[in-house]
Point group: none
Chain length 207, copies 4
Amino acid sequence: MPRSGRSKTYTRNTIADKYEIILRAAIKVFARKGYFNSKVADIAKKAKIADGTVYLYFKSKEEILHSIFDRMMTEFISEGKKELAEIEEADKKIERIAQLHLEKLGSDRDLAVVFQVQLRGSTKFMREFSAAGFAEYLDIIKKAFEEGQKQGVFRKDINATVCAKILYGALDEMVTNWILSKKRYDLTPLADEVLKVFFGGVKTKTA
Amino acid sequence: MPRSGRSKTYTRNTIADKYEIILRAAIKVFARKGYFNSKVADIAKKAKIADGTVYLYFKSKEEILHSIFDRMMTEFISEGKKELAEIEEADKKIERIAQLHLEKLGSDRDLAVVFQVQLRGSTKFMREFSAAGFAEYLDIIKKAFEEGQKQGVFRKDINATVCAKILYGALDEMVTNWILSKKRYDLTPLADEVLKVFFGGVKTKTA
Amino acid sequence: MPRSGRSKTYTRNTIADKYEIILRAAIKVFARKGYFNSKVADIAKKAKIADGTVYLYFKSKEEILHSIFDRMMTEFISEGKKELAEIEEADKKIERIAQLHLEKLGSDRDLAVVFQVQLRGSTKFMREFSAAGFAEYLDIIKKAFEEGQKQGVFRKDINATVCAKILYGALDEMVTNWILSKKRYDLTPLADEVLKVFFGGVKTKTA
Amino acid sequence: MPRSGRSKTYTRNTIADKYEIILRAAIKVFARKGYFNSKVADIAKKAKIADGTVYLYFKSKEEILHSIFDRMMTEFISEGKKELAEIEEADKKIERIAQLHLEKLGSDRDLAVVFQVQLRGSTKFMREFSAAGFAEYLDIIKKAFEEGQKQGVFRKDINATVCAKILYGALDEMVTNWILSKKRYDLTPLADEVLKVFFGGVKTKTA
DNA sequence: AATGAATGAGCATTCATTCAT
DNA sequence: TATGAATGAATGCTCATTCAT
């Protein structure tokens, strides 16, 4: 008689695991071959399951892509919010955001590739799905910046929205270059480089 | 610089025109549906030619994508270099680059979409093809920055390469947001916003 | 008439019941969606059992279809024979057959649909399985008709086999039309209509 | 400039031919293996064309089935109407209908199989598509019968609709039996057998 | 050069059946 | 007996590319 006592736990674990396994496999495969060039069979093979099993956990190939995005974005944003809540100074918040951004993506190259390259390959995706996630992320940066303006640490003659985009764009470019680069270097330290410019500008004080 | 003067016969003009027509059609179609979701037949229909005719001008669907990139990048870079050659001050050069970047993409939405969204959807593309073009573009920015460092207008404690990426990333993000935004606004003025931050930083002088 | 009295043990009842339950579920599902469009999972769900359980009672999806046919045909023929045995006059026998035919199918719409529509969708089925059942049924009609010819109530210049087919075909068409009709009417009374023509012909006596 | 003059005719002919060829191939394949068991690849192979070519002429496998029905039904009904228009006496009309029915299907066994067996295998088909065609056919019989009632050659105490169904059902059963029979016999003569019963009934005059 | 009908490899998805629990 | 997660063969349909005209 199955499913009595902790066998349920076992089953649940298996299911959760398999979902996770498929997702990880998909990230690897998408990262390497691109979404459109990846076959469901590739994912299944990488996950060491039968093709059909994929469909017990995901409704379609497209849903896998979206799940990757949703899952990671949700996770990233909630982690970020938690960390930021404990920081008082707005400039320290911005600093932490930049660090987290590069740490997170820098620690999982495949995931980074999917985020930077694959997810953007779909206008549909960008339009329909990114909206929520990306907008929220940008908003977090913007809010932190506005806070800093109130606190007097950031210039008030700068549009907060534009400013958030500039920082995001700069960080994003670090990641993209890191991905495309044949060299293997640590992504995290670049946060400070970016912040140095972002905070202080490139012009000499005298200029 | 092609198509200057009367150097082309009628036939050659026709050929060149059709090549151009297909390229423009492809940009429109790719922009609207994405590279993988676009059918060669769609491009042919938009160009008002037969499907097979496409293959008289391009070897494959992929080649069309690459041609779009090559063509535009070459044009953009050569135009840019010419303009920059006439500018003395490094910070004015940087300024002009930022303006040109947003002017160019801001004046052709479809092209911008293909550049920002579609071209990136292909790791293969990014790796194999972007190299030349993007690298050259980034290098122009970097050179201008280094020039500025020598001239003493830019801080010397900043890595020029990173700096070029930051500027590029910031501009790039402006374009991406402009594309994804439902609002229709002018992209060009954002160059000054970006430069304000890039040049002066976001922190208050007193900070 | 099965399952009367207490003659069955609990277990046997359960088994018999489940077999029956699956069969009824299958009839409903096949009737609604057609054999090929019905999934074994649909049947299991309708029967409120697990997918795999179906295979404890039936070897395959196809076997379910055959079981429906066998079961119903056997039941119908044996019931029919019993009733006919008690009738003397051949024309009364024919009359009763027609009535039983429409009563039986008219009292179970789903079963009728499976018989009229689904079972015929399979050439293989028609060829391999219908033979026995249908042939026997047609033979019963034919025998009754020949009896009537001997008794002098039916014309002797008519081929008994053809005649049986005509009656069967006419009744069959009544059922098919009843199934396809959006109107809900009583099928049984049509037996008399058919018999009126079958017995008396459509021409006026004077003609 | 190609396809000027009669080359258009050539092309057209080819297209029409190929459409016809696919339809014939489909009838053969469907007749032999049943709709659901037939693969599009089977049809293509039988038609000696590539799989994809099927889709230049038909939108889907299902559309092929419908096309078979539509085409044949339209053809049959228009032919039938033409013939009947030239007949005065209602009973002769009924006679001709019966003959045409069996002649038509008797002359094309594969087509008959598809009509009798395959088309009916789909409740969806029967409901959605047969409506128009079958209803019209039954109506033709019914009209002829009513005409006969006015002319005084048919009994007035019989429901014309039921009567039409009886005749149709009887003929239909002849065809079905002919298809399922291992023996090869001529279907046409059975029209007279059916009519003998339909017109005169099976009872002896004295009864 | 231009056409567009034909090709056929390629792939996402379904579902009858199995089997470990 | 009962379960339902896992399997993987099977197939309808797409579309980049070719080629006879």
